[in-house]
Symmetry: C2
Subunit: 281 residues, 2 copies
């Protein structure tokens, strides 16, 4: 269950006329709260502000977002030592029609929910991925940001029938690897890494950004560029990243499997040393 808050007050519902309902006109961030603090907050904030600029929404001030988050955490019954905060920004209510000339104040909602721990085996042995048939459409105006228009992810997720599959990978219409339905993907090629560019579609994850930052600091070569699906089948190892679980090794995708590479272990240790460490269940 998710507990929702607006300006520190608990609430369950939203106006049907809200543009989030009618058009998916808004953005969201799914933030890991650890020891009461939003993890990688600056990256979430910057992506949210970038999203507001793209959609032509008045970006809420940093302080307003922090107040919304901290007041929700303070009031909630959810254990703030470890939980998930979903910050949902809606364009609010306007008269009927797509047009939204007055870019007025947005609505800020915060949803808190418990955060399940993953089994230790998943961090040890890696996860199983499935390549989805659903393709991501090329829409540079919405690429990289996290909007409330998520039907492609819903459709891709519907393809994951096998309980053992942890995540679905999606391609664009030109057979480029883009990202998972809820994660980003890194390929290990020798001593280097590569992760798909988010210029046409996909979401630029905060954990992806964090990993790129610590790789740069460690002088490990990590390229951000277009990645043809064939590179997935020929690479030495695969990692996925997400704000909640951090970094996970990938065991297999379809017929293709990978042995945990030394590089995988090294990167997971670096991520843990950077403060992103999840205790398994």
């Amino acid at each position: 269950m998710t507990q929702w808050f607006r300006e520190g007050l608990s609430l369950d519902s939203i106006s049907i006329d809200d543009r989030s309902v009618q058009y998916g006109d808004g953005l969201f961030e799914t933030i890991a709260i650890r020891d009461g603090e939003p993890r990688l907050w600056r990256y979430h904030l910057e992506r949210l502000h970038a999203g507001c600029a793209r959609l032509g929404l008045a970006a809420p001030a940093k302080a307003a977002l922090e107040d919304a988050l901290s007041s929700a955490v303070a009031v909630s019954r959810i254990d703030a030592r470890r939980c998930v905060a979903k910050v949902l920004i809606s364009a609010g209510q306007t008269p009927r029609g797509y047009r939204r000339d007055l870019d007025g104040a947005v609505t800020i909602l915060v949803g808190l929910s418990e955060s399940a721990r993953l089994p230790a085996a998943i961090y040890q042995d890696g996860v199983i991925l499935q390549l989805c048939n659903t393709r991501l459409a090329a829409q540079p105006q919405l690429a990289g940001i996290k909007t409330l228009n998520r039907l492609e992810q819903v459709l891709a997720s519907r393809e994951l029938h096998d309980e053992a599959v942890f995540e679905g990978l999606t391609l664009d219409t030109d057979d480029r690897l883009i990202c998972g339905t809820m994660s980003n993907v890194f390929l290990i090629e020798g001593q280097s890494l590569v992760t798909p560019a988010m210029t046409r579609c996909g979401v630029s994850g905060v954990m992806r950004r964090h990993l790129l930052t610590i790789l740069a600091e460690a002088a490990i070569d990590a390229e951000v560029r277009d990645v043809a699906i064939d590179e997935l089948w020929s690479c030495d190892g695969v990692l996925i990243t997400n704000s909640q679980f951090g970094v996970l090794p990938v065991k297999c995708c379809g017929e293709k499997s990978w042995q945990p590479a030394d590089m995988t272990r090294r990167i997971m240790k670096m991520v843990a040393d950077s403060g992103i460490e999840e205790q398994p269940a």
Copy 2:
């Protein structure tokens, strides 16, 4: 103002956990109510059912939709001789996450609002269009249907700064003409018409379907196919269609203008004779 109803009961709000809010996971139809009856109802129903099939939603029965609509019309204070009904189908509530394995009953909401009449000059002289910079992404899995993911239309509509502009036209990323933000487009070429195919993106409007049907009955050649933007600049006349206003002639788009062609008048008369006649303000 829109009055919303669920199962004949008035309501204002929806759960924040509803998948319409979180993911835009749903569909809608905007129906013209004329003399208490939903106009072109069968076409709306068929598109809604096609949309449910595409999204993997349990399609509500015809009777359930008709009950929802008629009970809303009966209870509402809005004049049912002439109004707009928005039927919104949501995938409902599920636990957090994109996955929606159990395709359970959808939520049916009906919103009624007043229907403004357009000035007579618009039916006479035609409307002004603007070509938008926002492109529609190619996503065949969602093409033709009317989902709650409408950010492309929101972005395109934000480009329409000039009050005199009635509608924005959108292209796909390969410079093909697709449709307006809220309408479909027909080009007149001599004694024939052409309207863009909705195979990659765009919405297959009910009034477009109605016009195609009556053109076929009148043995007027009307092609549905890919249309390069250049054809817009070289054609003899342009019409737009939409469930509410029916058919409107186009006066100009950017620098290009058209004189009302005889064909335009002939088609507008045919549409009026088919029972789709709007009284101007």
